[in-house]
């Protein structure tokens, strides 16, 4: 995950419906493969955001990372926040289907919420935590949202995550297959907990984190619509006229 060149992200305080949110950004020259909005909920945002954005840049994705540790509530309160962040990415010329959203923990919950309210290229949630407080049944929480999901969604978690035991995960998979109109996938890593993606000396966690990263990049590659190059755009225009 460590790129050879480290790019220091630019930081902005972005005003949202719940107050200003710290957003780190890395812009790439040329025609990047796509854009990614990272929603982190870590205590060390500056370090995590820089690491993740550089890793996504190495995979060809321009990135914006928002610290959503404190962003919780009901969908009617959270969706406007998500819209602000998505529009922020859009200001750099990216259409929604050219964007992926990747969220961790609380950010994973928001990534799922975004997949239900917006038609993005792709969405990925790591060990998602419910966006509202007091939710004890994560599988039901997700299943209720399933019919609304409009963005291909990947869920990565550990089988020791107390919020989603393996048996619940299997049931949830069935519900998603039946209820969603788009493709979704749940990957449950054996022998690791909800924090498997954080730096850990434990072999199962290292293996899970590595695999999860590969899957995340591949998910974006498979589902995020590429931005057309100027030559490709010109060709499409000619085709349309013809």
């Amino acid at each position: 995950m460590t790129p050879v060149v480290h790019i220091a992200p630019r930081h902005d305080a972005v005003p949202t419906a719940v107050g200003p949110i710290d957003v780190a950004s890395i812009h790439l020259p040329g025609t990047p493969r796509g854009a990614v909005l990272v929603l982190t909920a870590d205590t060390n945002f500056e370090h995590e955001a820089a690491t993740l954005l550089n890793a996504f840049a190495a995979a060809g994705f321009e990135g914006h990372a928002a610290d959503v540790t404190e962003v919780r509530g009901t969908p009617d309160k959270l969706v406007p926040v998500l819209r602000t962040l998505i529009d922020l990415v859009g200001e750099h010329g990216w259409t929604r289907e050219q964007m992926g959203i990747v969220g961790y923990a609380n950010g994973g919950g928001l990534a799922l919420l975004a997949s239900a309210w917006f038609e993005l290229g792709a969405a990925v949630s790591f060990s998602l935590r419910p966006w509202s407080t007091g939710c004890s049944d994560l599988a039901r929480h997700i299943a209720e949202l399933a019919p609304r999901i409009r963005t291909s969604w990947l869920y990565l978690t550990g089988d020791h995550d107390p919020l989603l035991p393996r048996s619940e995960g299997r049931r949830l998979e069935g519900a998603l297959l039946r209820e969603t109109s788009v493709y979704t996938q749940i990957v449950t890593y054996p022998g690791v907990g909800a924090d498997f993606y954080r730096t850990s000396p434990e072999v199962p966690a290292i293996a899970a984190a590595f695999d999860a990263w590969q899957r995340t990049v591949e998910w974006l590659e498979l589902h995020v619509v590429p931005r057309l190059t100027p030559a490709a755009e010109a060709w499409r225009r000619r085709q349309a006229i013809a």
């Binding site: 996938q185 498979l222 589902h223 619509v225």
Partner: protein
Amino acid sequence: MSDYVIDDRDMPRFRVNREAMVDPAVLALERTEIFDKSWLYVGHESELKKPNSFKTRTLAGRPIIFTRDAKGQIRVWLNSCPHRGAMVCREREGNARFLTCFYHGWSFNTAGEQVSMPGDEAYGPNFERPGLAQPPRVDSYRGFVFASFDPDIVDLDTYLAGAKEYIDLVADQSEAGMEVLEGTHEYSCKANWKLLVENSYDGYHAMTTHQRYFAMVIAARGKIDTSLVIGKDRSFDLGNGHAVIAAAPGGDQVLGRPLSAAGQAERTARYAAIGEKHGPEWAQRLLGNRNLVIFPNLVIIDLVMGVLIRKIEPVTPDYMEVTAWHIVPPEEGEELRAQRLDNFLTFWGPSGLATPDDVEALESAQRAFATRKELPWSDVSRGMGSPVTTGQDELQMRTWWRRWDELLTGEVHPPEVKDPVGLPWSGRRLVPVQSPAPSS
């Protein structure tokens, strides 16, 4: 006159030259005259559950991508990059909005359009950006998707002829729409592909070749009454080389593991509901067994205890590859599903109690074709002079071979004239299925 088929209506006798099973020139002709000029089974729509789902497989020797595009339309693409030929997709299945060739990175969406090629400015502004190529004709009938490499072939509806009714008998088993289960049986056999076509609706071999299977059924069920099945079926020429053997109800009492009273009650209720919707005579037909071959290489076997879709691909004259899927009504209960899965594994599975016996028989025949100078002919005459033919007879194979011979040599064989049959085989659906307009 054909070198391969003797269709003597006077004796009567029907013989097939064993050279057709070993000669590479015959296989080459089969590729150009049969596989390039027929509608070929690609897959079932239910295999592609979501937009951008795909499966890769082989069709007439060509690698293809069977996919549902972002708008939900079923597509079949040739799995070869228009740039330098590498396979665009090397995964067996998945879901992807874009398929990117790993060789030079050209990328295509599931609608076949090119979306990117690295360093595209080097091609100049007027460069024609090619998309993925497709077979000239793709169409489906009740979820069964076919493609043809012949742009001038008759439409699928006309091609399927009488076989449509037998596809209806499968499709009507579910209100929600029949669904192919995830997972396939894949196996190979060191024999000519036509031997498995013959075997797939050869009722004559069942009791001798599959003794072990029936011993298992007897052990599970106690005494079974084979008089319900043996000789109680009929064989039919369905036109265009398609044929079927179809049995009256009763096979479910003989085949497969027994059901509990609750399981049997559910099955009875399900067929009663079908009777309500489509008429009791149609439901009676549904309850019978059927082994159908749609020319040239699609087999649908419906034994009530399960429905198998089998596709046979020739590789060399003495080697074939077989893929089999299980199609089910998704709404049925756990016990009926368990019985189906059990039968799919224990009867039809590559290591089951029937398929290895068949493979052994076919490989044995292929090895023995080394005697073809001394024994050049195989006999397929059984029931040729009978006004009524059963599954023990060989009308169904003769039907297939006549079409094969016509396509390969140009010799036209008129169909055999048989007596009309009554119920249950003549049972009709209350409302006939409307033929869809050809899609491409």
